[in-house]
Each structure stands twice: as structure tokens, then as C-alpha cells.
Amino acid sequence: MKIGLTINGQNQAFEATPGESLLDVLRRNGYIDVKKGCGTGDCGACAVLFNGRAVNSCLILAAKANGAEVLTVAGLAPAGELHPIQQAFLDEGAVQCGYCTPGMVISAYDLLSRNNDPTDEEIQEAIAGNLCRCTGYVKQVDAIRKAGAIMRGEANE
């Protein structure tokens, strides 16, 4: 089947089989900023914004994705200028091997879009579905807290 998607603001049409995952469709068509980890919704590496909410793209069937609006981590910096969340991840050293980072940034974006002044508990809850096997989460929480402050205009990048 042919599925239509708006990806990072661009209308796209791809050939897909109805039962394959949005993750596989995206990566096959060059969106390799979306990482493939477990494939069963456990690790969060494949997170994208799907119709405005962060989801595991490995759990979205192509049939369901048809007509959806998708934002990947690359879509947060369309002209190459990093989003405050991406910059904060760099500044706070929240990236080690980097494999979890796209998904983690997308989850943070979903949270901060709705609540740019979250408590640490709310930050931890928001990234509960994103597994990082390197850094231990402290630096990511620091980065998301800092990004929130930047987005509120209370801190500089």
C-alpha cells in the first residue's frame, strides 16, 4: 500500500506493507535519526512525535501511520540550528554513546511542549520509556531541566 505522511513538515508518500512498523518505513526511506533498538516498545530509541505525542515508532503499524504527522529528532533542527533541548543535552554531557538520545530528546520535547516547568519527578516519568545504558539518567534529567528553563526564558543557551 502507499502511505502518506507529513514528516518534519514535508509531505511524503512511501510504499509500505500494512503490517510493518512505522520505524522500518522511516529508516528504509532515509530517516536514520530514528534508531532501532528492541523493536517491541521497551527501549524508546525509536521514539518519534506522532500526531503531536511521543510514541514508540516500532509499535505503530504502517496502516495506522497513514495520514499522520511525524516529527523525528532531526526535525527539531531543520535549518541546522539545534533546538534548546538538543543544545542542553550537549551542554550537560547527557550524551555518551548517543543511541538513546534521539528518543530521549523526543520524549523531552513532548513533555516540555505541554509543561515547560516540570518537576524532576515529572521529567523522570516522561523519560521512563527511554532506556540509557551509559549515563544513568542524571545528566539527561539535568539537561531537560535546563532546556525547560531556556524555553521559559529563564536561562541562556
Binding site: 503490517g19 516498545g41 505525542r53 514508540n56 509499535l59 505503530i60 503499524l61 516519568e125 520509556g129
Partner: protein, 284 residues
């Protein structure tokens, strides 16, 4: 890829058409709402998906003392709805916060939960103790109790779930406990409890235990044993044998039946205590 044989996606415009397609295609077709369960657990024999997106099943409303949750509303939407926190002593939000991760709750639905009815479901025990009713369609629209729905789906082709209806009951005290090895792991056992109060006595006691590894069901003899107890002297020691006798436990790779039987007594005790505390305004 589990669903490699899917060739057709049908987008019905009404419930009648959705049900007709399902009857025509039988086990080779599955309804597609959130799709989480299909993506992970569906058998590879499935050849068609019946996409429910055009059926208007994603609304959340409050009507005549009931919260009416459309079958394709996501768990995140349910948690964020203003009605959910007030409903059933706040149990719904408590349970959903413990279901999988935020990423999954942005996709998963009650329709999928009830359609698959996995024994480890954390939502189903909560629906049982909240006296939730299930809106279904199998050629005609009906509303049945959660118990009736669960019993019926084992006997014949499961109806299409259209809604979940939860009575408001703001005075209810309710609790949910799950025992697992990690936050995301399927629980070794889960337990939902709900109680109400008349003067200083407990009434409307509901206890449901699941993941044993059998599908959740109510412990009705235990409920009766607690019903009418004074709030400050619930006879837990006397009730333990009833729980142990009534519960349907088996061995599996997660835990032994004996361990689950012991755990169930602990879960019921803690669950009822927590529900009573919450009914009286205390949070644990």
C-alpha cells in the same frame, strides 16, 4: 515482522460495516485501534486489518454519573482528562500511571486491552472493582458488565469493544498494587481493591486479583467476608485462608503457585488497608 501477511486494510465508516467485515474474514482479520498489541503479539496468520479510526470511538465524556471512554481513546488521553482523577476514587489514573511507559500510553487503548485481555493486564482488575461496564457491538449495540464481557469473549467471537463506562462514585476508596521484578516487567500478581463506607462499616467491597497467571477475577467470598467489617478491625487473619482458597494460581516462569498464594494474601491485606485510608482522605 509479525504481520507480514497482511494484505488488506479496511476502513469501515460505521459499526455495522466493521462487524460485517470481521464476520466475513473471521480470525484472519483483526480490529486496529492503537495497534500496540497487534505490533507485538499478533499471529503472523493475520491477513486483514479493520481500521477503526473513522468510527468516532476516541471520545471521552461524562454523562449521568458515568465516565464514558471511547475504545480508541489512548491511555494518555484518559489520564489527562479532568474526569479521570475524580472517577472511582482516582484508581483509574493510579493504575494507568503504572501501565508500561508514557511512550506506550500515548498509543495503547482500553479497546486493545479488552480485546486482547492478557492475563497480566493491570487495567482489567481495576475495571472489575470499579464496576465498569463495557459497550460492545456484535451486530447490535449492548452494554455488559466487565465480568460478562470477559466470560463471553472466551465462548464465541469476541464482540467489538466500543466504550468503557465507569461509574463516578467519588466517595469510593480504591487501590492498586502490582508485584513485579522491575517497573516495566509483567507483574507476578496484581490486585485492585475498592470499598465504600456506611457509618463505620465497610460496604461495596470489591477485590480483583490478576496475573496469577490467570486473567483477573473478583474474589467474591473474600469480599463477603470483609463486607460489614468495622473500619478499624478488619479480620485479615481470618480472611487469609479464604483468599488462599479462592484464588486461581499456577506455577509459571515468573513465580510458583505457592508464592503467589502467599503474595495474594499480602496484596489483599495491603490493598484493602490502602483503599480504606484513601476513602478517609489519606494518601499512602
Amino acid at each position: 515482522m509479525a504481520l507480514e501477511h497482511v494484505k488488506a486494510v479496511i476502513r469501515p465508516s460505521g459499526l455495522d460495516q466493521a462487524w460485517e467485515e470481521k464476520q466475513k474474514l473471521g480470525r484472519q482479520a483483526r480490529f486496529l485501534g492503537g495497534g500496540v498489541d497487534l505490533a507485538v503479539f499478533a499471529p503472523s496468520s493475520i491477513e486483514a486489518l479493520i481500521d477503526l479510526r473513522d468510527l468516532g470511538l476516541s471520545t471521552i465524556a461524562f454523562d449521568e454519573g458515568e465516565m464514558i471512554i471511547g475504545a480508541t481513546a489512548t491511555m494518555a488521553e484518559i489520564m489527562e482528562s479532568p474526569e479521570a482523577g475524580r472517577c472511582g476514587g482516582g484508581l483509574l489514573v493510579d493504575v494507568l500511571r503504572q501501565v508500561a511507559s508514557p511512550l506506550q500510553r500515548n498509543i495503547a487503548t482500553f479497546g486493545g486491552t479488552l480485546g486482547s485481555a492478557h492475563p497480566w493486564s493491570d487495567v482489567i482488575p481495576a475495571l472489575l472493582v470499579l464496576d465498569a461496564r463495557i459497550g460492545v457491538f456484535d451486530g447490535a449495540a449492548r452494554v455488559v458488565s466487565t465480568e460478562e464481557y470477559l466470560a463471553g469473549r472466551r465462548e464465541r467471537m469476541a464482540p467489538l469493544v466500543t466504550s468503557v463506562r465507569i461509574p463516578s462514585e467519588p466517595a469510593l476508596g480504591a487501590s492498586f498494587i502490582t508485584f513485579g521484578r522491575s517497573a516495566f516487567d509483567v507483574g507476578i500478581l496484581n490486585c485492585a481493591c475498592a470499598v465504600a463506607q456506611e457509618e463505620d462499616r465497610l460496604k461495596r467491597v470489591r477485590i480483583a486479583v490478576g496475573g496469577t497467571p490467570a486473567l483477573a477475577r473478583r474474589l467474591k467470598r473474600t469480599e463477603q467476608a470483609i463486607e460489614g467489617s468495622s473500619l478499624d478491625s478488619i479480620p485479615f487473619t481470618e480472611i487469609d485462608p479464604t483468599v488462599a482458597d479462592e484464588i486461581d494460581v499456577r506455577d509459571d516462569r515468573r513465580a510458583s503457585a505457592a508464592y503467589r498464594r502467599t503474595l495474594a494474601c499480602v496484596a489483599v491485606r495491603r490493598g484493602i488497608q490502602k483503599a480504606v485510608e484513601r476513602m478517609n482522605g489519606g494518601r499512602t
